[in-house]
Amino acid sequence: MELNLTEEQEMIVGMVRKFVQNEILPLEMQLDPDADALPAEHKTRLVEKVKQMGLYGLDIPPEYGGPDLDMVTRTLLAIEMSQHRAGLYVPCYGVFGGAGLAQLFEANDDQKERYLYPTLRGEKSGFFGLTEPSGGSDPARAIETRAVQDGDDWIINGSKIFISGADKADYGLVFARTSPDKGRGGVTCFIVDTDTPGFHVRRIVHTLRSARYATELQFEDMRVPARNILGQLNKGFAIANDRLSRQRIPYSAGCIGVAIAANKMAVEYAKQRETFGAPLSSRQAIQWMLVDNEIDIRHARWVTLEAADKAEKGEPFRTEAAMAKLIATENASRVVDRCIQIHGGYGVTKDFPFERWYREMRIRRIGEGPSEVQRHIIARDILGSSLR
């Protein structure tokens, strides 16, 4: 892996860094500290600006209109885009656009017409419905939602939990068991329109993220046509699994960006704040916290870029993605925690972004597969079948 950024990478990264500093940070100062959306007029203006920069739809493949950027550059940009208060979960408040559900690139032509293209045009949005009350870390076995064939349709009954955006979505990818005795080989992915009779958003699930909630869904005799099966019957888990591995790279990048932003603030504060007649930065206790931050950030950055590099080259990257997710979420959590400590009382107020980062970062060690599952994946790859 090349360790130095190319000229083009330096240029694009610099452009996005300026965008965050000049456009996002000043606007953010005016918003509620927990806000996760910009006022509509600002969002429209900034989306136009991003389109002029040629960077709109960063995770959309070039053949579908996205910018022709490699995975490493996209990861570098994801690190930049998250360096603000709301950046962990809504980098740049979504003005860089996105592909939404990447699984739809694997859809058939009819499904692409009905779901993918309207999504890319911003006319429709979707949700990813995998986790159930019975468990999220082992979805292949935990899925109890059942789909039973009835002529040309499938009848779905069951429930999902911790699903983001389902209450506002036009459609969703719902994973259901179609062969009860086949384990991970008995799960199918259905594209479900949210206006289908029997589709219910039963409640909001409030979490540490106070601006964005998850939802709990219930399906009651929900009839879905067979043409809405994404991929093949009983092959749905492969679709879910692929998404989980790929998602771990940008997920890690967001954590690194926040850690960098927090650490920059802590370095500045340590230089200015005086205790007992000398700046905090002269205290070894503070210096060591900043040193540990730097080490944690660099460690996370390199393993994440290595995962991105392998993914770009088409090499197996499951272990690297799991390491990136594990290290980035745990390291960034420690960095934010130390930055709060350095800021003292101010660190836990809503005047500064640390308390939001602290809350949201805690979720990151669980979301997209908790740290223990990442270690399990790495152990399985190291030890092979002897672990099973």
Partner: protein, 110 residues
């Protein structure tokens, strides 16, 4: 946990306002028949939290009664209560911005 607020409304007056602290949270304003007129929140930018928001409402004399719920999840709770009102009555409370409905999700509570 019930998603509906079950605590009763009380009169919006100076005496009752003294019992409200400056916490983050949500509030509802109602008429004298306890019909909800507005759901609002006291967020991180509210200078005096719930008490400040309700003091504004008292000065504007827009409502007769109020109730509050202290929560750090004020934004999602606020959205939830608006969605619930929309599901129950087909519209938002009269003093809320009707345009907010465009930013709301759909809830079908059991």
């Amino acid at each position: 946990m019930s998603i509906r607020i079950t605590k009763p409304f009380i009169d919006l007056n100076e005496e009752n306002l003294q019992q409200v602290n400056g916490n983050l949270g949500i509030y509802q304003l109602a008429d004298d028949q306890d019909r909800v007129l507005k759901t609002g929140y006291a967020g991180g930018k509210s200078l005096f939290g719930l008490q400040g928001e309700l003091r504004d409402a008292l000065q504007q004399q827009t409502a007769a009664r109020f109730r509050t719920e202290i929560t750090s999840a004020y934004l999602t709770r606020y959205q939830e209560l608006l969605m619930l009102h929309q599901a129950d009555f087909g519209e938002l409370p009269p003093l809320n911005d009707p345009a907010d409905v465009n930013n709301l999700g759909r809830l079908s509570p059991a």
